[in-house]
């Protein structure tokens, strides 16, 4: 900034009270000219030069965003987590932009007008499945939301991603509710739900329990939605929801990988969260079994077998077991990616028996 221009501004009529030190001697980097690329102007594009320097630790307890100039009198809270490893996920920027681009509408992107009338037992089963899903989906919004106030502006991309996950989960609550109400049955029996996920006491515990296990198991199920969907309406609904869940799972996997890479001493602690989720601690519900037991399992078996006769149920439960197998093996794959391959030996026996042999 040319000093003569500053002087000129101060000398202007009514300019005598201008300080202009923020203009004269800026404490934040200037001269950035970030241009849009093929995917437009993304948050990755602007994480450049000093604005891309993501600190490992920060003492910034104010609302200051990464790269902005500090004020010595800024209000401070002492509530903000000061470590990158506490929240970071290398995929957050990419996944946030993908989430923005791939938003969909439950009102208009599902071909509701093509909804066929189904045999009553199938419609009842789909309504029961959707009652379960509408019950548990927004817990996956409440859980990450609770940590958002602790996420520093130094790591604001994590806050952005969490908002996109909350938006996705809202749409899931909404679309499964609409599906249950769209074909003459309505909502049926609620279950104990997924409130246990709200007990997570830190971000990494949340990523272990919610992303690695809970959402991962739901994602595997949605990805096999072709098997239990009864129409194009249902297929599209599960496809779109699976696409969203993939982002959430990817975020959690990359957070866990970052933690395992930078804080390997947390390995045993993380295993204990997984012990709990797999039902190995006792005294509470095993969240890994959410989609595998009770009314949800029976409804899925009816949908997978095409009815309630003995042969149909046999076929349905057979397919459900195949889904379960896929859920467990995809879970194992995520564990290997994050560096927790030793989980194979610690996994709950009921899950372990579904594991494929390790890949070499």
């Amino acid at each position: 900034m040319k000093p003569e221009l500053i002087e000129q501004l101060r000398k202007e009529t009514a300019g005598e009270d201008l300080d202009l030190s923020w203009l004269e001697a800026p404490a934040a980097q200037r001269g950035l000219r970030v241009a849009p690329g093929k995917r437009g102007l993304t948050v990755e594009d602007i994480a450049t030069e000093s604005y891309g320097d993501i600190p490992q630790q920060t003492r910034n307890q104010t609302g200051r965003m990464r790269g902005a100039a500090p004020r010595s009198d800024a209000q401070s809270t002492q509530k903000i987590w000061g470590s990158k490893a506490a929240v970071w996920s290398e995929s957050a920027m990419l996944l946030y932009e993908e989430a923005v681009q791939r938003q969909w509408s439950s009102a208009t992107d599902i071909p509701w007008h093509e909804m066929p009338e189904l045999p009553e037992e199938l419609e009842l089963a789909m309504s029961q499945l959707c009652t379960f899903l509408t019950q548990v989906e927004f817990i996956a919004g409440d859980v990450p939301g609770q940590y958002a106030p602790n996420v520093s502006g130094e790591y604001f991309e994590i806050g952005l991603f969490l908002a996109s996950q909350i938006m996705d989960e809202a749409r899931h609550l909404d679309v499964f509710r609409k599906r249950a109400l769209a074909n003459g049955i309505g909502l049926l029996s609620a279950g104990p739900g997924a409130v246990g996920l709200l007990t997570a006491q830190d971000f990494t515990e949340m990523a272990s329990t919610l992303h690695l296990v809970g959402e991962g198991f739901v994602q595997s199920m949605f990805r096999m939605g072709e098997l239990f969907a009864q129409s194009e309406v249902d297929k599209r609904m599960f496809r779109l929801a699976a696409q969203d869940e993939s982002r959430h799972v990817a975020f959690g996997v990359m957070h866990m990988k970052y933690v395992m890479d930078t804080q390997p001493e947390r390995r045993d602690e993380i295993h204990t969260y997984l012990d709990r989720m797999e039902g190995q601690i006792g005294g509470g519900s095993a969240q890994a079994g959410l989609t595998g037991g009770g009314p949800t399992a029976e409804a899925l078996a009816i949908l997978l077998g095409g009815g309630t006769s003995e042969s149909q149920l046999r076929e349905g439960y057979g397919k459900l077991l195949a889904i379960r197998k896929r859920q467990v093996n995809e879970y194992m794959h995520r564990l290997e990616v994050v560096g927790l391959g030793d989980r194979r030996q610690r996994m709950a026996p009921m899950m372990q028996m579904l594991l494929d042999p390790p890949r070499n």
């Binding site: 900034m1 009842l124 029961q128 939301g145």
Partner: protein, 354 residues
């Protein structure tokens, strides 16, 4: 996943244990059987789907877990959740379901729907001044959003329309954070100086949900909306205009929720007017503290709004007056008609002598 891929998966299905007996007690749940909705041009909206009892939100929600409204509650509900809000008056707005659908329809994509290439080089002091303003907007929206997200787990499941709407507001605010940051870094400038943070602190310290909404959706949103609506003097490119217009459009929904909620809160408890007055007093004082102490922001507005310093000051005063006016009209829409003479002296001062 393709049909064939899903079917191939089944060949690897493990041995089936003995079948459990068919139960289907869940199918006998005494819940309402709704008629099939007639899908209109807007598709299957929440309002259309939530027919009959499904659309009725009770004044008090009795279930402590995530039981969806209209479903038959389980005999064993498991762990009671940490929700603290079970009273409709604490969160309700009659327009929440409609605003939710509208927000989804109106979502915009900062990366690809802003004409970033339309931004041309500006005189340095103008670019830096604009960037200071953009930095301020980005920071304040991050604060509103972070705190709002934290409140979601307080709201029980009887009021799903509100939870759904708030998710859209959170996603809007996330896009405001990144869009204005992108603009600050796109044209030879960079981020400016952080805010003093008085107002953000008040947002974080909200004890009640309605208090939060008074700060973020009434005071902050009306001040920011007025800024966006008065941005013809600030915007220097098509991209700038799109940013302000899109943000204004989102803020009108945030304001609409805030107004309807506050109205409902007051209609259902006239004695709550005293509480609201306290929140308005506090919010105004904190807003004034930020405005009066944020020298870089004040000077940035002066430089960006006027061709001369004198003109900039004059236009900043007009902007502050428009912001105060928008705020007072917002309160009137929320049935608070007597605020004008009660506006905190500090805020009045910040507006009259910015």
């Amino acid at each position: 996943m393709a049909d064939t891929e899903a079917k191939e998966e089944l060949t690897a299905a493990p041995q089936l244990p003995p079948l459990p007996p068919l139960d289907m007690s869940w199918a006998k749940a005494p819940t309402e059987r709704p008629p099939r909705p007639k899908i209109g041009e807007e598709g299957l909206t929440l309002r259309l789907a939530d027919h009959g009892s499904y659309g009725w939100a009770p004044d008090h929600w009795p279930y402590e877990n995530d039981t969806p409204r209209g479903a038959f509650p389980a005999a064993d509900m498991g762990l009671p959740a940490p929700y603290t809000i079970y009273e409709k008056a604490e969160v309700w707005a009659d327009n929440a379901a409609d605003l939710y659908e509208l927000a989804i329809k109106e979502q915009w994509k900062p990366a690809t729907q802003i004409a970033w290439n339309s931004i041309e080089a500006l005189p340095e002091h103008i670019e830096y001044a604009l960037d200071q303003i953009f930095s301020n907007i980005s920071e304040q929206q991050y604060n509103s959003n972070a705190v709002l997200m934290g409140w979601l787990k307080q709201i029980s499941y009887g009021y799903h329309e509100v939870k759904l709407y708030l998710a859209t507001q959170s996603f809007d605010q996330a896009r405001h954070v990144e869009a204005f940051r992108k603009r600050a870094l796109a044209n030879g400038g960079g981020l400016g100086v952080q805010t003093p943070g008085f107002f953000s602190r008040a947002v974080m310290a909200s004890f009640k949900f309605t208090e939060l909404i008074v700060y973020t959706n009434i005071i902050r949103a009306s001040f920011l909306l007025a800024l966006c609506e008065q941005s013809d003097k600030l915007a220097r490119s098509k991209a700038d205009r799109q940013l302000f217009e899109n943000t204004a459009n989102d803020l009108r929904r945030h304001l609409a929720y805030g107004i309807e909620h506050l109205k409902y809160y007051l209609q259902t408890g006239p004695q709550r007017r005293a509480q609201v007055k306290n929140w308005l007093d506090r919010g105004e004082v904190m807003m004034a503290a930020d405005l009066q102490r944020d020298k870089p922001l004040r000077e940035a507005f002066i430089l960006a709004l006027g061709d001369t310093v004198a003109q900039g000051k004059e236009r900043l005063r007009a902007l502050r007056q428009a912001q105060l006016e928008k705020y007072l009209l917002t309160l009137e829409a929320a049935t608070i008609y007597d605020r004008r003479p009660l506006v905190q002296h500090r805020l009045q001062e910040a507006v009259e002598a910015p």
